[in-house]
Symmetry: C2
């Protein structure tokens, strides 16, 4: 049995959607059991079926707008997020899923779960829908704002293993976010990373990728530092939101337009679903000793269920050990070359 | 008379669309005359009306994919782009509009037109449509990848004057692109710029702006370094393109969907027009001794005409001198505080 810890109190619609998502996951996936961390009195009314689900009582939650996430975690060791993270560290569970505050989850994962051996930095990596119908891993969207080129090599290894094991891509291609496709483009960091990726035998590097191809990418993994990738993710979100608004305004103009809009309703809804990342699951935090999945703060039961499914899949495929092997091989390789 | 130099040979559809755009501008705007730089034999067939338009013969063009734009400009002093730029420097014209290669135009403008007194860096600043119906100035989308905080203050001054004089915003608000809205977010650069903007009496600073609000911005100017702002611009472009593709795929599904799509055609077209930046004009290169406007490489006559209109407007409003005054005042101010 794969044991999944759920932070039942984190997120905009907690604990209702988290509990419903957990029950849905239990029904759909045979080899998992779930531990809900949260307030039993609040959770119980939503838990209509507790097959393979138990509750562990926690006290308090980590606020979404927490200014000092590290302090928040240190001072709230009995919060649902902290207790769920600790359960992974103590090998009481195999993975944790949380819709709680991103920065607190990253900080908490560092402190309570700890980094993988030899992994220098963590990274957070959402999986985005594209116009090509295949998903794209984008990283690092919220970890290290300033980072060394060598650390990005490790993150590319992690993403490549993830793409192979979880997304089923046989040879995952990695692209570097840049302002031009030619070699030599970008900042000092980008040029250094370009050289390291090109030389590395474990990275199928396609070169620089301009963000104008972000929804039709020539790769499975798009990587940059934690500032740039976060900016890309939020610009996609902002453009999609803004375009959706303009589209509704324009489509509802005039008599024929209104009828057209009515007839297109179902298709527009499907379009909206396609743009939503919910169906794909959450963002994994790469580089930890355990599996930590960040589901969107606004997750409903379906989104949360998908994040649980994803967490189980990552455990089942033993992703973390496989990444460890690649990093090990890389070190041996570097030692030989040096 | 305002004298506009046109690089008639630069752009995907040169010289046809450039010449048609020029004739259209002459018809619409009374106080301008235009000099077309290019090959007379190629241009003449498109010039059905040469009222207030003359041709100056040039030799060769700067290639769009030029690897070394500085060398390209230096070695092609008789190209249409170089000659048009020089005409501004020599006060034979008041402004230049070009759809040619961006990097070559920036390099050429540096070499041939020169920077404004006391202006430390140039910046390129497109004006984008938003879902709020008002335009947004985004900078720097292609100049300085790595930049000092003080230089961004000068660029914010330029954008503020431009927004006031050209876009008619009485008190232009400036936002800093960042990964969170709270003070203290971002890289060292972002935090330093935040402090400088806050302290500057000539900048109406609204604080950090996340790119998820890029199409519904709480400001008139959005600023970051040349790498980040370029990434934002290209991500908007990529998301719009990708979403458009997905939308067409979804809307044309099923019988009712197809009818709906037919009825909505006109509205969808209007939506597309609204997303296109063409109607707003080109991107101005800030910080030069003269007015240099970069029209999109794919500009048609309408887009090019709008860029000419914009160039004339910038000359008429004497934007460059007004920016010079603010930078002067700022220096006096800094000297007092120091």
């Amino acid at each position: 049995m794969i044991r999944i810890a759920v932070d039942a109190m984190g997120g905009d619609f907690a604990p209702k959607e988290q509990v419903e998502g957990a029950m849905r996951a239990i029904k759909a996936i045979d080899d998992i059991e779930i531990v809900l961390y949260g307030d039993e009195v609040t959770i119980r009314p939503f838990l209509s079926d507790d097959t393979r689900i138990r509750i562990v009582q926690s006290e308090g939650t980590i606020d979404m707008g927490e200014k000092d996430p590290i302090a928040a975690i240190r001072q709230n060791r009995n919060s649902s997020m902290a207790m769920a993270l600790l359960s992974v560290r103590n090998n009481e569970t195999d993975a944790i899923v949380s819709s709680g505050a991103t920065q607190a989850l990253i900080a908490g994962a560092h402190i309570l779960v700890g980094r993988m051996k030899k992994m220098k930095r963590t990274a957070i990596a959402p999986v985005l829908p594209t116009a090509l119908g295949k998903p794209l891993i984008l990283l690092d969207t919220g970890g290290n704002l300033e980072i060394k080129p060598e650390y990005m090599v490790q993150q590319a290894h992690f993403a490549s293993v993830y793409a192979r094991e979880i997304l089923g891509v046989s040879t995952p291609r990695v692209g570097l976010i840049n302002i031009g496709t030619e070699e030599g483009k970008g900042r000092e960091l980008d040029r250094a990373v370009f050289d390291l990726f090109t030389a590395n035998p474990h990275i199928a590097f396609v070169g620089n990728v301009e963000p104008k191809d972000v929804l039709s990418p020539p790769c499975d993994v798009l990587i940059s530092d934690g500032f740039t990738a976060n900016v890309v993710m939020k610009t996609i979100e902002g453009t999609a939101k803004g375009m959706g608004k303009m589209l509704r305004q324009e489509l509802s103009k005039g008599f024929l337009g209104k009828i057209g809009l009515l007839l297109s309703m179902r298709n527009l809804k499907r379009f909206k679903q396609r743009m939503a990342a919910e169906a794909i699951g959450g963002a994994m935090i790469y580089g930890l000793r355990g599996v930590v999945i960040k589901a969107q703060g606004s997750s409903k039961a379906f989104g949360f269920y998908n994040a649980i499914r994803q967490a189980a899949h990552v455990v089942r495929q033993d992703v973390i050990h496989k990444v460890g092997d690649v990093i090990e091989k890389d070190e041996v390789n570097n030692a030989k070359t040096a």
